[in-house]
Structures are given as C-alpha cells and as structure tokens.
C-alpha cells in the first residue's frame, strides 16, 4: 500500500451540513485514492451517510470544497455526481418496486435509438449479461417487487457497476447480507480495486474492515477525527477512537441455568415459506436462529408473533397454547417481537419518541379510559435512561434519532411490556459497536431475570458470542440444532448452506 | 294606494347559474327598476333541497320586503319561508311552487295541467296520433317536471290517445351530457320509438342535437319545452318541428309586480284580488293563490324568428 499515487481521485475538505438545529456534519474531510478500498467508520449518527450524500450530490453542503481529479466541483443534484463518475450504493435500498430489474438499473440512462425511443432489447440484454456475471439467477425483465433483500442488494450493485464509475461508494452494503453474499460482494470490490476504482466502504462490522480495506477514516460527532492505514490498526484501537473509550467485555454472556420452557413451537408450516419448524426456548436461555438471508427466519418469528398467517402448527407460551394470527394476543401472552426493519416495522418515525414507546402499553397507561401524557413521558424517560438513549427530548420525532438510538427505542417499547418471551430479529443490524455492546449487555441482564430470548442474527460472531444454542435454517427448514459448546463458524455455515449436520438431529 | 317606492325585493332562483332562471330573474329586475324598488338576485350554485335555506335566512336578517323564490324542494324551504312571513316579509313563488303555507302567491307559467295536457296534444299532432314515445325529464326530484308528467299521463288516458304509448321516463338530470347519452340509449332500447318529449330546456336541446346527427333526423319527433334561441338551429334544419315555452322574462316580471303589490298592501293575495302588472296589464289572483302568466307559445318554423330569449 506504499505505492499510493500522489493525487487523490476525490477529496472533500471542511464540509459541514446542518439539518435544522442538528449539525450532522462539521468539518468532514476525506481523501479517496484510485485503487484503494477506504473504510469510513464511526458511531451511529457520526455523519457518515451525510458525507456520502454530499459526495453523491443529494445534499448541498453548507460549507466545504469538493475536488475531483484536481478540479473543484459543485454538485447541484445526483445526476451531476453520476456524470462525474461517482456511483453510490445507499444505506436504504433505492429501487423501484414496480419496474423491471433492467429498468431499475438504467433508469434515466436507458439506451435510445435515433428517434429517442428506449431500446428495451439492448437494455435487457446488457442487464442479463451483468446479472450472469454476478452469478445470480435473476431475469432482467423480472419486477423488483418480491426480490429478497439480498437480491435487491445485487440489483443495487449491478446498477453501480453499470455506471462504469471510477468512484464507488457503498454505505453499509453488508448490513442485510449473510456470509456468502458478503463474500460475493468482496470479490467484486476486489476486482474493481485492481481495475483502479476508488472505493469508499462503510460498515459497522469491524472484521470486514480488516478483510477488505487499505485505509481508514474515523468520524465522530460530524467531524473526521482520525486517518490511518488499516494495517497499522487493530480492533481495540479502532473502537477506542470511534467510541472515545474502551469496551472491555464485548459479549457479556451471563451464566444462567435454563428454567422452564418459555416458548415452544411445534410443526409450524406456511406454504412456500417454511415447513415443520419445531423448537423450544427455555427461560434464561438465548437461542439463536441462524441461516442465510432469505432462509425464512424472520417469517418464523413473524408467524409466532401473529403478524403473518400460518397454515399449520402450534405455539405454546409458558405452557399455554397461543392463538396465532393476532399480535395483540401474542403481546397479552407475554411475547415481544423486535422486528428486523426498525424504520418500516418498528417505529412511526414522525411520532414523538414517547408515543412510540407507549404504543405497546397504551392499555396500561389508561386511567378512567383516558391516557395520561405525563405517565407516557415518564415511561419513555425511564426506559430511555435504562437503555442509555441519546435523545434531546422524548417529544422529538423518533425519525430524528440515529440508527442505534432508534433501535433502542424499539427495544424499550417492547421491554416496557415486560415480556416473558423476547423475539429479537437482527438486534444489532446497522448499529455501531458502542451501541451493540449496550444491546448485548441489556440482553444478558434480561436473561438473568428469566426471560426466554429467541435471537435471529446473520452475524456469526454475535451468534457465537451470545447464544446458548444455535438453530440453523435453510430454505424454510431447520437443518441443525447446535449447543453453545459445539458451535463454530464452519458447522453453522455448512448447515446454513443446506448440508445435514452430522451431530444434531432435527430439534425436538 | 299604489306601489310603494324603495321596496327591497330579492329573487332567489333554483340555481344562480341556470340560464333559464337568469332570463326570468332579469325580467324581475327590470320590473323592480320600473317600480323604483331595490332588487337583487341571490342564490346557490347547486340545486340541492337545502341550499336555498341559508339564503332565505340571510334575506330575513337583511329585512327584505319581499322574497320571490323558485323552490328547489316544495317542502324543505317551507319552515323558513314561514319564519320570513312571520316577520312581515311577503313571499311569492314562481316557476316552481312550494307547499301553499310557505307563500302567499304562486306565479305559474301556465297552469300545470294545461302544460302537461298541451304537451300531449302537441305530440299527438306531430306523430299523427299513434306510436311509442319517451319522456326525457330533468332530475327525478324536479317538482315541475314531475307534475307535468303526471298531467301528461292523465291526458293519455283519453280514448283519442289510445294508440300513443309512453314507454319510459328517463332522467337527464339537466346535465347536457347525461341527457345526450339517455337519448341515445332510448333509441337503442326502443327501436319503435317515434318521439321524445323533453319538458326541460336542457333535455330538449340535447335530444335535438343527438337526433340532428342521427339517420332518424327528420322522421323522429323531438318536442317539449325549450327556449327559441337554443332551438332555432334545430327548427331550421328540420330536426324539430314544434315545441313550446312561455317567456321566462315575463314570468319574472309578473312575479316582481305581484311581490311589490303584496308588500305595498294593495292586495292580500286572496282569490279574486287584482293588480296592475306593468306591461302585462291587469292580472287576477286565482284559486289557492295562483296567478297564471298565460298559455305557453308554440314555436315552429313560421314564428321562431319573432322571439329572442
């Protein structure tokens, strides 16, 4: 990495950006060189996405200069950045569900004939070639609606590649991916890097930083605070610079003897989604549900909680049969579900934090049929301080919080119901290391109090660090049930890819 | 005692943008000007049952001397008109009556019975005394049209009309497009249909326009009630032979005089009262407070150019 070319492809200096009274970025700096993968790190809300959106022409910075290939530029809109050769994969998917994959990739840049008409044949052919080269069996003319998150990510990547850009920016592209997809992404990134493309890579999974990147920029509170070569850093030193303190016990696994069966699932099936799912979770136990993206784990969780329908099967909570099909029934039986997509499923982003928190326990806050606003705010502050929520006031809309803090509000709103069984889907998706540590600590405390926890996670370190038992799903079936002591990455991955696990027979 | 000066008389038409009503209102305003009164026209832009009520209330608050109203609904306005009368405001209806307790006088274009019967007589002449016909009316709730249709059916019971058959009453809602489509449908649904009678100015012109572009032009009979200006082209090109109407301007004119006389105390509105109505001469109050403008005019190619309204 010493043969760094002298001039950066892209350089941002002294950029600042405020949203209303929130100073999202203050003196953000970045230099990106051709042929490198550059990690941009920082806590939730540090301003990484804001910086990306400035580079992409989405936001106009309040101050600062942007230099590309030695020329100072001003982007008024995203198309300017596209023309300057900057391709971006955003944190939130940006696809048109109603249009075909090909149209998604070429929107606004479709190949035209002499009369200005779109050449669909050519567009579809190009797209198909690209999808084949990415090794996925998708059809160019297929609608994006109904694609799995991983496939959606593939479309995003294809879109970025089709631009033949010399700068590729990826904002947490791996957050929703599991191992094989991540590997595929890394292979592509590596190929592009050798073709002298400059890549900016944002992630909260530090092991990926060491796998892929050559240099690092760390941000804190809207400012770039540290630059380094990746090889000069280690895990702890990065964490310390991001969080501003040391995190000692990362996976605070509590030592609890499992009690009675809290959650028992028997032969749960839903046509086309999952089949014959059976397992138990005891009180004081964390059971991880692992597998590839699209294996149907979230669907199982949603079915148990009554959000999705089931075709057959039974669920018992604390020994009582649970009537499936209505979340309200599940809540009353003592089940809580922290969903995987906090923005879509977890929060009403326009509503105040307090009202989000109280939504699950409205009936308990009622006095003579009326809601007490005071009790509501107290509840929110109480859970806020328990979970170390960073918020200006509980009256602020939940949407103004950073990702990790949003996750805490969702967690708080469910813990407020005092559940016996907690189902938590991707508890740390998109949240920073500091927040992760806090979430793990919270989970450990809950288990000590006797809660039964079913944790769905695509992050193997987290699974290995926190779970008492690991269930692995493949294409809608449970393929392995591995106790903590025997669990390792290889066995879980093998089961996730569909190989029958030698040691474990199907659970229960 | 003559008519007082400076009487405040308000016209409240069914709908302020209805062309027919505008002609009538203008006739009324002309009369009020002759009498040296203060006239005005207020009213809703939709023909709902209740939409006139807030205007009645306003006119009461404004202490008008008389209200001349063409009622959208025979009953909905009555309680409010009674309130007006209780405060000394004289109420005259024209064009479309209310229940008798709501008003003192009703200025009728011609008595409903003779309009209804007259339409059948005209129709019979035009189709040679036999054949199927349909009525294209305004809205299902239009009071005038419903009364006239009732009298048409009455007239049809006479033996000389035994061969004439009313096959359907269709509603064009006084909407041009709707009336047009209804006409078209009637022709499809009743292949033997020989005539359409449209006792509403919107309906007759829509029907005439449809027929004028259809192969049946010239043989099919369109008649009813319409204004000469609207129908002139169709009479000239042979689509329409004859139709009827009274002069709406004169109707408003007469109503204004009746109202002014009531408000001045020269008449009380009982049967047999007489009053001077400007250029229309002397008029007499008939049974149950009705004052009749006169028989409708039948327009045809020979006389249509003498009229302009």
């Amino acid at each position: 990495m010493s043969d760094q070319p002298l001039s950066p492809r892209l350089e941002l200096r002294g950029a600042s950006k405020a949203f209303g009274e929130v100073q999202a970025l203050l003196n953000g700096c970045l230099a990106l060189y051709p042929g490198e993968v550059h990690a941009l790190l920082g806590e939730n809300g540090a301003g990484k996405s804001t910086l990306v959106k400035i580079l992409a022409g989405v936001h106009k910075p309040d101050t600062g200069t942007l230099v590309i290939d030695g020329v100072q530029r001003h982007f008024a809109r995203p198309s300017d950045a596209l023309e300057a050769g900057i391709a971006v994969i955003y944190q939130e998917p940006t696809l048109f569900a109603d249009l075909s994959i090909a149209e998604n990739i070429y929107m606004g840049r479709q190949p035209l004939d002499r009369l200005g008409r779109i050449r669909y044949d050519e567009m579809n052919r190009w797209t198909q070639e690209m999808l084949v080269s990415l090794g996925v069996s998708l059809k160019a003319t297929q609608r994006v609606q109904g694609l799995s998150i991983a496939d959606q990510q593939v479309v995003e990547i294809a879109k970025a590649l089709s631009l033949n850009a010399n700068v590729l920016i990826m904002d947490e592209p791996t957050a929703a991916l599991s191992r094989p997809e991540v590997e595929r992404l890394f292979a592509i990134a590596e190929r592009l890097r050798t073709a002298n493309v400059a890549i900016l890579f944002i992630t909260h999974r530090l092991e990926e930083v060491f796998r892929l990147t050559q240099r690092i920029t760390i941000m804190r509170d809207g400012a770039a605070v540290y630059f380094a070569q990746t090889c000069e850093m280690d895990h702890d030193s990065i964490v310390a610079r991001m969080v501003g303190r040391d995190l000692s016990t990362y996976y605070p696994k509590a030592d609890v003897t499992p009690g009675e069966i809290g959650l028992s699932v028997r032969r749960l099936s839903r046509t086309g989604v999952f089949r014959d799912i059976s397992f138990d979770v005891r009180q004081g136990e964390i059971v991880a549900l692992s597998g590839l993206v699209g294996a149907g784990r979230s669907e199982v969780a949603r079915a148990i909680f009554g959000v999705d329908p089931v075709d057959s099967g039974e669920v018992h909570v604390m020994g009582h049969k649970l009537k499936l099909g209505k979340p309200a029934t599940a809540v009353r039986a003592g089940v809580a579900l922290v969903p995987e997509d906090r923005r879509q499923q977890g929060l009403a982003l326009d509503m105040p934090i307090a009202r989000n928190t109280s939504l699950t326990v409205l009936n308990k806050l009622v006095r003579f049929g009326l809601i007490s606003g005071k009790a509501e705010r107290e509840l929110a502050s109480q859970w806020g301080s328990k979970l170390k929520l960073k918020a200006h006031t509980v009256d602020a809309p939940a949407g103004t919080l950073s990702g990790g803090n949003q996750q805490k509000v969702v967690l708080g709103k469910w813990l407020a119901t005092h559940p016996r069984v907690l189902i938590i889907d991707e508890p740390t998706r998109g949240i920073d290391v500091g927040a992760k540590a806090e979430v793990y600590q919270t989970l450990a405390d809950l288990v000590k109090e006797g809660m039964a926890v079913l944790m769905i996670s695509s992050e193997l370190p987290e699974v290995l660090g926190m779970a008492d038992r690991v269930l692995v799903m493949h294409e809608g079936r449970i393929t392995a049930d591995i106790p903590r002591v025997e669990a390792n990455e290889e066995r879980i991955m093998a089961a996730a890819l569909g190989q029958t696990d030698p040691a474990s027979r199907k659970a229960a | 005692a003559g008519i007082k000066k400076d009487l405040k008389i308000a016209f409240l038409p069914k709908q302020i943008n209805n062309p027919y009503e505008v002609i009538a209102d203008n006739g009324g305003l002309e009369a009020i000007k002759e009498m040296g009164g203060v006239g005005k026209v207020v009213g809703p832009s939709d023909a709902g049952a209740s939409s006139q009520v807030s205007y009645i209330n306003t006119l009461i608050t404004q202490k008008q001397n008389a209200i001349v109203i063409a009622a959208n609904d025979a009953n909905a306005v009555v309680p409010y008109l009674k309130k007006a009368q209780a405060q000394g405001i004289k109420v005259v209806t024209f064009d479309s009556d209310t229940a008798p307790e709501g008003r003192t006088l009703f200025i009728n274009q011609a008595d409903s019975e003779s309009i209804g019967r007259g339409q059948i007589q005209l129709l019979s002449k035009l189709i040679g005394g036999e054949g199927e016909f349909a009525v294209l009316s305004a809205t299902p709730n239009a009071t005038n049209q419903n009364t006239w249709i009732k009298w048409m059916e009455e007239e049809l019971k006479k033996p000389e009309y035994a061969k004439i058959k009313l096959v359907k009453v269709a509603y064009g809602n006084d909407d041009d497009q709707k009336s047009f489509v209804e006409t078209q449908g009637l022709l499809q649904a009743y292949p033997n249909l020989k005539a359409i009678v449209a006792p509403t100015t919107v309906g007759i012109s829509a029907a005439a326009r449809y027929i004028s572009t259809s192969p049946k032009k010239g043989t099919f009979v369109v008649t009813g009630l319409g204004t000469p200006n609207q129908m002139r082209a169709f009479v000239k090109n042979g689509t329409v032979k004859a139709f009827q109407l009274w002069d709406p301007g004169a109707l408003g004119y007469l109503a204004a005089y009746a109202a002014a006389n009531l408000a001045s105390g020269t008449i009380t509105g009982k049967e047999g009262d007489t009053f001077e109505a400007g250029k229309l001469g002397k008029r007499t109050v008939g049974k149950s407070g009705e004052v009749i403008l006169g028989p409708p005019t039948t327009f045809d190619a020979s006389n249509i150019d003498n009229f302009n309204f």
Binding site: Y90, T94, F96, L99, G272 | P19, E21, A189
Partner: protein
C-alpha cells in the same frame, strides 16, 4: 394514504426469485395481464347486451359509444399520468368546464376562427390550469389531493363568476367546428380519431421514452427517483401540465360534441375519470398502470352506462349498478392477482 399500504407485508408477493417456468396455466397468463381480463369482461358485456337487444350491436351505436367515451378517455389518460406519479388531479372537470366555455366565447367573439387555432387555444388554457396545479404541488409542496381539490373549487368558482347564467349554443359555433363531432373519416368520427391519436401518443410516450418511464419511477419510489438523477419536481410539473393540457383538449372536444355549454359543464366527472382509471388497473398508489388499461376502463364504464339504458333498466337502478360495478372491478382485480400469486407460490413449493 401514501406509503403505508398493506402490501408491504401482504403475503404472496414475496418469493419469485426462481426464473418463471416456461409454460404457464392459461388462467395465470390471463390474470397476469390485467388488461386482457378487462378486455374479456368488456367483450362479455357487449355480447351479452347484444344478445338481449340486437340493435345494440349496430355500427351506429358503436359510433355513439366511441364518441361518448372518447372525451372521458382523454381525461383518463391525463389522470393516468398523474396517478402513475402517486398524485391525483381532481381539478380536470373544472378545467374542462372553463375551457369549453372559453373556446365557445372565442367563437362568439371571432366567428371566423380557424378550428385548429381553437384547439390550440383550448390546450393553452388547460396548460395554464395544469401550471397552477403543478406549481402548487412542486414549489408549494401541497399534497396533490389538497391542491387539486382546491383548484377544483377555484377554477369552477372562476367559471361561475365569469359565465354566470350564460350559455353557448350549438348555433353560435361554426359548422366546421361541429364537424369534429359529426364528420367521419374512413367511417370513424373525427373526434374519435383525434382521441385515438392522442391516447396512442400518450401511451407510446409512457412506454418508450425516458420521460415516460420517469413517471413510473417517481410513483414507484420518489426518493429513489431523486437519487437516480431524475429531476422529480420538473417531471411532476410536466405531468400536471400534461393532465391540464389534455383536460383543455377534452374541453374543446366537449364543446364540439355537445354544442351547449354553461357554467356547470362537466361538473362532477372527475370522480368518473378516477373511477375509470382505477377500473383500468391504474394503481392509486402509483407506479402501476398504462393508458391502454385506463382506456379500457373508460370504455367499460361507458358501455355499462349505455347498456343499462338499452337493457331498459330503470333509471333508478343505474347509479347503484354503476357504483357496485366499480367496487366489483377493483375487488376482482385484486383477488385475481392474489390468487395468481398464491398459485405460483404453490408451484414453487411443489417443483
């Protein structure tokens, strides 16, 4: 009413990652292409009515139906463009009314006005109305339902205040103009040909031009559209301009067809137009639909209208049946596509 419809987690749409099987059940093929379903329903209706009343199948009647539907179909095409963007334009009826009267007055003022010029004038008035709507929605950031509900009132109010009790009669219009509705070319009324050309043009533009595809993109995901480099404001503005222009054109054609216009011309047809688009499978949630479907929707409603009269159904039944059919059309469309999704899910499970 924007982003959070049930569909986000509705069952069914989830799993279609496998390439579709080569041969498909006829039912699936039919159901997938919603327009063909609509076409079948339309044909059934026509044949059914024709059996009951043979006169219905005459060329003359077909001509009349086409003439009736042509104007609504033009409005529906404009509405389609706007609805594709997840917007709505309720003001079309008022725009149509103002335009019809204005062009009529123009003929009164300048009796020798050439017909093409009158059409241009009408389109210009429509454009002005579309401009107001577009500006409110883009620069003023007023939700389109609110903006166009307001302009529905405002344009109509201006119309009332200007026209008052006035009326334009067919007599005041030059024969050349009325010829648009009465004259034929190749056996088809000129008005219908104009409408067909306009509809084909809009449909073709939506399918084959970047600008057209951008309407879909915006309705499908407005934020993603911005990120894809689409100038969303400009495009939305264009959409409202187009809808206004088409409403203006429809106003001119209305005048030619009906001859009589007054202050309340076209009042209330905005809901008919939305209904036609919805029946024609244009999603009120944006991103889905096309002019062909919308036109079929307009045709279907038009044919229903006239069928009921021809079948001698009491006038009092007509409105109830129409309303019921609108509900039925939306419901069956949805049920059909769900059934289809479940079907393909089963297939995957088995294969």
């Amino acid at each position: 009413m924007s982003t959070t419809f049930m569909s986000q987690h509705s069952p069914g749409i989830a799993v279609t990652t496998q390439p579709a099987p080569e041969r498909q059940h006829w039912f699936l093929v039919l159901a997938r292409n919603r327009e063909s379903t609509l076409l079948v329903v339309l044909l059934l209706l026509i044949v059914g009515t024709g059996l009951a009343e043979p006169a219905f199948l005459s060329w003359h009647n077909a001509r009349d139906v086409l003439l009736n539907v042509a104007i609504t179909a033009i409005l529906t095409a404009g509405m389609t463009v706007v609805m594709l963007m997840r917007h709505i334009d309720l003001s079309v009826s008022s725009t149509l009314g103002v335009t019809a009267y204005a062009v009529g007055s123009l003929f009164m003022a300048i009796p020798g006005l050439p017909v093409p010029l009158a059409i241009v004038a009408g389109v210009l008035i429509g454009l002005a109305a579309g401009c107001v709507n577009g500006a409110l929605v883009t620069f003023g950031r007023v939700p389109s339902l609110v903006a166009t509900l307001s302009t529905l009132y405002i344009f109509r109010g201006i119309d009332y205040a200007w026209v008052h009790g006035g009326q334009i009669n067919a007599t005041s219009l030059p024969d050349g103009f009325s010829h648009i509705a009465t004259g034929n070319v190749l056996g088809l009324p000129i008005l219908v040909i104009i409408a067909a050309v306009v509809l084909a043009g809009v449909g073709y533009y939506l399918k084959f031009f970047r600008g057209g595809r951008e309407f879909y993109a915006i309705g499908s995901n407005p934020e993603a559209a911005t990120l894809a480099g689409i100038r969303v404001h400009r495009r939305v503005f264009t959409g409202f301009l187009l809808s206004g222009a088409l409403a203006g054109l429809a106003g001119v054609l209305w005048l030619a067809r009906f001859g009589t216009v007054d202050a309340s011309t076209g009042k209330g047809i905005e809901l008919q137009v939305v209904a036609a688009a919805v029946v024609g499978s244009v999603a009120i949630t944006g991103g889905v639909g096309n002019v062909w479907g919308a036109t079929l929707g307009a045709l279907l409603l038009g044919v229903i209208n006239i069928s009921l009269v021809v079948l001698r159904v009491s006038s009092f039944w007509q409105l109830a049946i129409q309303g019921g059919l609108i509900v039925l059309a939306i419901v069956s469309d949805t049920l059909l596509s769900r059934r289809m999704a479940r079907w393909s899910m089963k297939k995957r499970e088995l294969g």
